[in-house]
Symmetry: D3
Subunit: 214 residues, 6 copies
């Protein structure tokens, strides 16, 4: 599925394989992992391809790990059974918030994959037990001291504080990452950003339900 | 630009940089190169990312070189002046003929880039002198002994002979690559495939003109 | 300097080079970066060397980036002038909290390097202007629902929530990273972890002052 | 065996291993693959070693794939049985046409390997069934508009069109690759090049028979 | 264990794994291998990390191979049984003679590992049969024509001849490597260096016995 | 030049470039380096290509460094002037003693290159001053307790001690490397091997003179 947040466009797909990596065989548990990447011309200035450079950069790995960790929080790996799901999040166009858009979209792709497995009767548990929560993510930040939701690229660069908030549909936290970049931040600012992040995730949860219903 | 041939979808972009690689500096000549890649889920079965494997595969390099070579045939590198253009061809969805779709789409992207350079008065020559030919490419093949144009994936696998034909808008050849795969082929079969390839390219030339006009 | 937190031992050194990377030349700004690594036998079970594997793993890169980002928050790169400082944090023995120990120790190493530069009259600004804040970091977590400071490895594995808090000596935040691992967490739990993290950092600030005084 | 075409010298060897790669096990089919390489001083100007650069270049991979594909066209992989043959083609000295010299020489090396397997009674089929065709290759090109056979390096650089033709001993085509390099080419020129290529291959077929007889 | 020779400090550890590499399975023989590395700031000028460069340098590999070969000379791989031991020698601080310090220290670490295996009754033979010799190493050299033992870094750079001598506790040779660097050397100089090397090794043998006794 | 020792065949070439690597510019000194490699089928069992594996193995690097070091001992880098010479030693067929054959052959290739430079008047010093010594190398070993010169592969594997001796034409030593492999060796055995090595080198010096004269 193609997720669009403003001018940010991320293609999220889920690929299912029967079986799990060797180190997990016989555990009865499934596995979910993610790979994030940007097309070279997703940004305004062309970036070098990581395949050509021969290694995956630190930022790419960090985001891939965040997406995988976030999505594993919404899935019961026992109920999934020994199946593996790879979530590919490829950014076609980037205008800020690509990692949170990827998480939000990957949830829908993962849900579809689990439904497909259920239809094939390949799940160890019931679909509802497998996907026992929904996951959403937003980026929030302080721009000129003001908390802002869903920073676009121009704002992102100007933000004093940049925070990613990953929530469940029930408003609990899965992951919170706040970085002062050029600046540090006070506790009351952190609290305001967290409030705004939870609010943003609630809206996304509704949008996800709509996407899954269609 | 997004090129679509049947279920094949390739995103083609051209990125311009002032200046040329070190080995070409002071020559007065520009440079055009191409990078082809497939998203991991472009095909029905997920392929590993080349960035994760840490090297670009032989097939990918071969196609990137073919696209670059083909597009350099339509551009006067002297008239381009010391500018570099990278053509990125990313396959979002693959159903046969991705390399020829990439060449055909890259021509349009290249044309746009040259026009943009002309608007900025950054060309050494006039736009028409820079792009003195148009370039198109099709894949043709023998299926059950019959010549076929634009093989889809299912046919491609079944084809006894697979041929890529790159032509100019004037019907001349830029590149011809025919492979017997499992089979060999006779001269009369080769001739029939070449005829069909030229015909296919002529149709594409018209489509390109339409795309550029819009 | 060698930092010890319980059984965790990290060797932190700062290496100064005159000049800055090419992309920063002529900016008048300095640069601070960090490299984190673990000796293969730092943990109980030997890990493969990243040099032998031929690539730096995602976790290593993520931590190196965190350390660099955190330490850049305490230094005025303009007052540093066009000097580069590399912070090497090598884990000789690991028992939980290696990344936060590395940040806390790297601050002392960085301070020493800046003093050394000041003695050589190689700073653009005064030492106090260069290092205008102190930086500390702790790991906190929820174990059986209880907030805990400085998790040891056995606890770390059992923790439902794992959080790294990077603070300044004034109690402001530089970076906050909380991960639910197997579990999600409520806002009140997050608040309690943040309180505990700030408290821990305050204690470390005192210890750093003692180390710098000696 | 050492193949010499003018000043081009290529060492071609075939190495047999019992068994096939994992993905082919149990298929009853054999496997033939090729690796092409140039010694650093094969050309007049020393080239960097690909082992030192840490990756195999696009040109090398493209040629290795071409050799493998061409030679698989002359062998019945079922009659070969589950044996693997690697064809190594190492260019000691290069003066144009190295890839076609490699294919022509690799056929003789492959034939020897199959005979050796037959002597050890390790073939699934009879030798004649295994090698049911011979394979030859030549490079042809247009120099000053004239079709030329077996281009030497100086001519190769000057050639407007460069074409490799791989044929069977019966005059059928296995692979045809024509590239306009700086120029495009007309259909009648392509036809003349194909005629010349087939002619050249016929001569080589006779030379191969002599080599195998001795 | 931490070996200190003057200002040279090397951390030597032995890690035991049950089983042996695939190519050795079923042989009844064990395996001992070594990995040497330098922390980036072990020397006065920071060196780049080999993990970041993506490959292990020639000097590092050469020393790792030397350590492994030397230590295999003191162990009966049959009596060890199908166990693998990796010797990690990490140089924390370097002031000449790091490779010989590593060999001398690795012997003690290896001895401890064998004792540990004996305590677990995991050896095929008796401990004394497994470690049937002790191994020591020193570096000797000619400085201003004079033979010198245990060159420190400043001397090492000035040395006309640099030689590493690896001996058994019985005064036999395991390995001898002498290099003229800028100069060549006469037979009588070589003899003097060998005498001095053997003498140095004898002293180290006593020190090792003390370390093992404690 | 092609060196042959028994069934060992090594192709040694010297390639000259004007100028020196960046770190040596302006020093007035030249540079000599070597690269050793084996064709995959040089041995009886095919080895994997290092270019395909993506890294140069430890043994290859060790030998390349030995060859470079040995040949630098016979050349006055000041008299060479700011010229670089790369010595390529490619083993076409291996039957023991490839590294010593490479050194002996590389001397002749280097001599030719220096003469070529002298003819072009590109040397800082006179040819005789540039190449002020000759260099030879042999491998010797103990087989069944007996010292043997120029071990062939079958003997090499059986040798209890394997030693490489690099000498100057005057009988001085440039490099001595003796390895006990499975066994240790006594001082009197070492002395006998050194005597034999010097003797062997003397014979090679005569052969080199003959090759240079022709």
């Amino acid at each position: 599925m193609l997720v669009e947040f403003g001018d940010t466009r991320v293609l999220c797909t889920a690929s299912v394989t029967e079986g799990v990596p060797r180190w997990r065989k016989g555990s009865g548990l499934g596995w979910v992992t993610a790979e994030y990447a940007m097309l070279p011309r997703a940004t305004n200035t062309r970036g070098d391809r990581e395949s050509v450079k021969g290694k995956v950069g630190g930022r790419t790995q960090e985001i891939s790990r965040l997406i995988g960790r976030s999505l594993r929080a919404c899935i019961d790996l026992k109920a999934l059974g020994e199946n593996s799901i790879v979530l590919d999040c490829d950014v076609l166009q980037a205008d800020g918030g690509t990692r949170t858009a990827a998480i939000t979209g990957a949830y829908v792709a993962l849900h579809d994959a689990v439904t497909w497995l259920a239809d094939r009767k390949s799940l160890a548990g019931k679909p509802a037990a497998v996907m026992h929560r929904s996951i959403q993510a937003v980026s929030v930040g302080l721009v000129s001291g003001e908390p802002r939701l869903d920073l676009m690229y121009a704002e992102d660069v100007a933000a004093e504080v940049d925070m990613n908030v990953v929530c469940t549909g029930d408003g609990d936290f899965v992951e919170v990452q706040g970085t002062g970049e050029a600046n540090v931040f006070r506790r009351d600012q952190l609290d305001a950003l967290l409030d705004l992040g939870v609010l943003g995730c609630t809206e996304l949860a509704a949008a996800q339900q709509k996407a899954l219903a269609s």
